[in-house]
């Protein structure tokens, strides 16, 4: 019985990690800029498509026709060779194989630029406008982002293979003293969890131990005072928005092998992430992370056949149900402050 529970727990971790990462960025933006960003899911989706774009670029091929040979169908044989392989040889092959993790390298600058452009171009003008208008403009931006992606990459999901070496399963059970092959866990999911733990740890360390982070935290607690201290809080907020975009983008990149990205990926995750943020408590970073994992794991348990036999359909609604209960019983969420966003 313990194995079953432990396995479900593990199964919830990677989804929980994705929720936590998105919710973390949402909370950063809300806590610092005071903006309810409905385009945050779109940033996750854009990150995922950075990986798609990178791979498509890597797998650009030269096609030469070799007239001396024929294919099994009798036509002249086409020889396809990825460009990177012609340029870099074996390293090119490695690059293609590891395209997903490597694409983080291009995702970071792209997402930073996207984030800064969004903040400076549009969101900046909405700091003083009502939350409803913030929701509406970012909702519109999310639609634009997803439609642009749709028109470039088409409506269908584009699978991203994980690196061949990382395809297997990790025998976690044997590591902690169970028999071999009782508790196995896909390696990439484990990597995703570790990756998210590192990113979350990094963000927290950044906020905790750098001067920049201190100012931002002070700004989250009391924006007016920090502004009065003569600190240019605006520029820092811009950078925070960029950072949130990077976190969302990286979360999207690494998630691609688990779920082939399509253009509405962002919207799918956005709704859930908002629920996560609210459950964690609007404006609380630890709350967002905790709620992300909590809901991911709950979702995993709810999809167990034993549970579904007792409460049919519970797997479909568990997250929303938890959100509703928490909002009604404890409106500030798990760790939120009082009075945030009430009106």
């Amino acid at each position: 019985m313990f194995e079953v529970i432990f396995l479900q727990f593990l199964n919830g971790l990677d989804k929980g990690a994705a929720y936590a990462l998105i919710a973390l960025g949402l909370t950063l933006v809300f806590g610092t800029l005071g903006v309810v960003n409905f385009a945050h899911g779109a940033l996750f989706m854009l990150g995922a498509f950075c990986a798609v774009m990178f791979r498509q670029f890597l797998t650009l091929e030269t096609v030469t026709i070799d007239p001396t040979q024929t294919s099994p169908w009798g036509a002249p044989l086409e020889i396809r060779e990825p460009l990177v392989q012609t340029w870099f040889g074996d390293f090119g092959a490695v690059l293609v194989n590891y395209s997903v993790p490597f694409s983080i390298l291009i995702t970071i600058p792209i997402m930073l630029l996207v984030g800064i452009a969004l903040e400076r171009g549009i969101i900046k003008h909405f700091y003083k406008r009502p939350h409803a208008e913030q929701i509406l403009v970012t909702f519109g931006l999310a639609i634009v982002a997803q439609e642009v992606i749709k028109s470039i990459f088409g409506p269908n999901p584009i699978p991203q293979p994980m690196p061949t070496d990382l395809r297997g399963a990790a025998d976690i059970g044997s590591w902690i003293g169970f028999q071999a092959n009782v508790i196995t866990y896909p390696l990439w999911r484990l990597i995703y969890f570790l990756f998210s733990a590192i990113v979350i740890g990094g963000v927290f360390a950044f906020l905790q131990f750098t001067t920049f982070g201190m100012v931002v935290r002070a700004g989250m607690a009391d924006r007016e005072t920090v502004g009065l201290l003569g600190i240019n809080i605006d520029r820092r907020f811009t950078i925070m928005f960029g950072l949130a975009a990077i976190v969302a983008g990286m979360a999207g990149v690494m998630y691609t092998p688990l779920l082939p990205p399509n253009y509405h990926l962002g919207m799918d995750f956005l709704v859930l992430s908002f629920v996560v943020v609210v459950v964690g408590g609007m404006g609380s970073l630890p709350g967002a992370v905790a709620a992300g994992f909590l809901l991911g794991i709950l979702q995993s348990f709810a999809s167990m056949t034993q549970i579904k036999a007792i409460v049919p359909g519970i797997d479909q609604i568990i997250i929303y149900l938890v959100a509703v209960v928490i909002l009604l019983v404890r409106p500030r969420g798990l760790m939120g402050r009082r009075g945030v966003m009430e009106s």
Binding site: V36, I122, H125, R129, H131, A132, E133, I135, L136, V137, F139, G140, L141, A142, I143, V144, E147, V148, K150, S151, P155, M267, V271, F274, V275, V278, M282, P312, G313, Q316, I317, Y320, L321, A323, V324, L327, L328, P331, M341, E342, S343
Partner: protein, 379 residues
């Protein structure tokens, strides 16, 4: 009559009714004068008018109103299946059911305000949507959608000895409701809905709703229990959504769960904002514009575009066609998103605010005698 309705309100109402009823005539030059589209104009107009009673008057932004629309559709189709193919019982049934549904969801959601309220409505709607696709399949028929069959019991029709030949379709007193009959049926409801919304907005009750939007604290210290007011607005707008959903089922008796999805809730928000939140005609205009461009733009393809741009030099035309094609056909949502962003940034009051600004400019540049320093009337 003055006590019943002010002269301006009466003129607005009559003007609205005339515009709606004459739509088949004046929309024909725009390529929209056919019943199928006109019916949609009516249906989504009702949806938006009702949504505005909640969002526009009380300021509560619901992201889950599509749930009531969907419930209305399902309820209407069940009425067609179980009771009778006549549309009127179906409408009544749908409005009652969606009203009850809204009462429950509103009672719970209105315990919170601000974004928490929005998330609660969203969560309830998503639950309904997910359940409609999974466990509730016996009621909703899952992905296939609920439809009419020859074997439906239709007890009232059977009791009256009415029999049908062929595929059953909704009727009104025995008349089929396809085509223009369907349009006028829906138009009647839109005009009624508009009239009722006008009454609500112009009543003391409507003023209370506006005051809740303006300052809920003051409202409470003034002696009002604000929650039943907001809940009434919520239920009324839920019933409007149910009515619209039922009408969609009348014109096309196939109810699917996708009508309840949150994107559908988002769409009615877009309509209301685009037209003008808190105004009476704005949301209707917003609904019409969105449905019109959805219809026109999504039907365009590269060939039509190539013809349209053919006056340009060949190379330029190719590029222009390529670029514009991203904004039409399947890409029309991109246009919608862009327009929406632009509206929210530059014209948060929507089209109605644009009209107001234009008339203000026109008046200022008019004869100097017309210049007035009248204090801006509030409404």
């Amino acid at each position: 009559m003055t006590n019943f309705m002010s002269r301006n309100d009466l003129l607005l109402f009559l003007g609205f009714a005339v515009v709606v009823l004459a739509m088949p005539i004046w929309l024909t030059p725009f390529g929209a004068g056919y019943p199928d589209l006109l019916q949609r104009f009516m249906i989504f107009g009702i949806f938006a008018v009702g949504f505005n009673i909640l969002f526009g008057l009380t300021g509560y932004l619901s992201f889950g109103h599509a749930a009531f629309f969907g419930v209305g559709s399902y309820a209407a189709v069940w009425s067609f299946k179980l009771l009778t193919l006549d549309a009127i019982p179906a409408m009544i049934f749908a409005v009652i059911i969606s009203g009850l549904f809204a009462l429950v969801i509103g009672f719970l959601s209105l315990r919170r305000s601000g974004i928490y309220f929005s998330i609660l409505t969203l969560a309830f709607a998503q639950m309904s949507y997910n359940l409609a696709y999974s466990v509730l399949t016996p009621i909703t028929n899952g992905e296939t959608g609920l439809q009419l069959t020859l074997n439906d019991p239709r007890v009232l029709d059977a009791a009256l000895g009415q029999t049908f030949v062929g595929q059953p379709v909704p009727t009104l007193l025995g008349q089929q409701l396809g085509g223009y009959a369907g349009f006028y049926f829906c138009a009647g409801f839109l005009i009624l809905s508009f009239f009722f919304a006008q009454r609500v907005a112009g009543s003391p009750f409507g003023m209370m709703l506006k005051s809740i939007k303006s300052n809920q604290t003051r409202m409470q210290f003034t002696g009002f229990n604000t929650r039943p007011y907001a809940l009434s607005a919520f239920v009324i707008s839920g019933m409007y959504a149910g009515l619209a959903g039922a009408l969609l089922a009348v014109t096309d008796p196939l109810a699917g769960a996708e009508r309840m999805q949150w994107t559908a809730s988002g769409e009615v928000v877009l309509m209301t904002i685009l037209g003008g939140v808190g105004t009476l005609v704005g949301p209707v205009i917003g609904a019409w514009i969105i449905k019109y461009f959805e219809n026109i733009l999504s039907a365009l393809n590269d060939n039509i575009l190539a013809q349209f741009w053919s006056f340009l030099p060949e190379g330029v035309a190719d590029v222009v066609v390529k670029v514009t094609s991203k904004f039409v056909g399947d890409g029309w949502h991109l246009t919608l998103g862009l327009v929406f962003v632009i509206i929210v940034i530059f014209l948060p009051g929507g089209i109605m605010e644009g009209v107001r600004r234009l008339t203000a400019v026109a008046r200022r540049s008019g004869p100097p005698g017309a210049k007035s320093h009248q204090p801006q009337p509030a409404e």
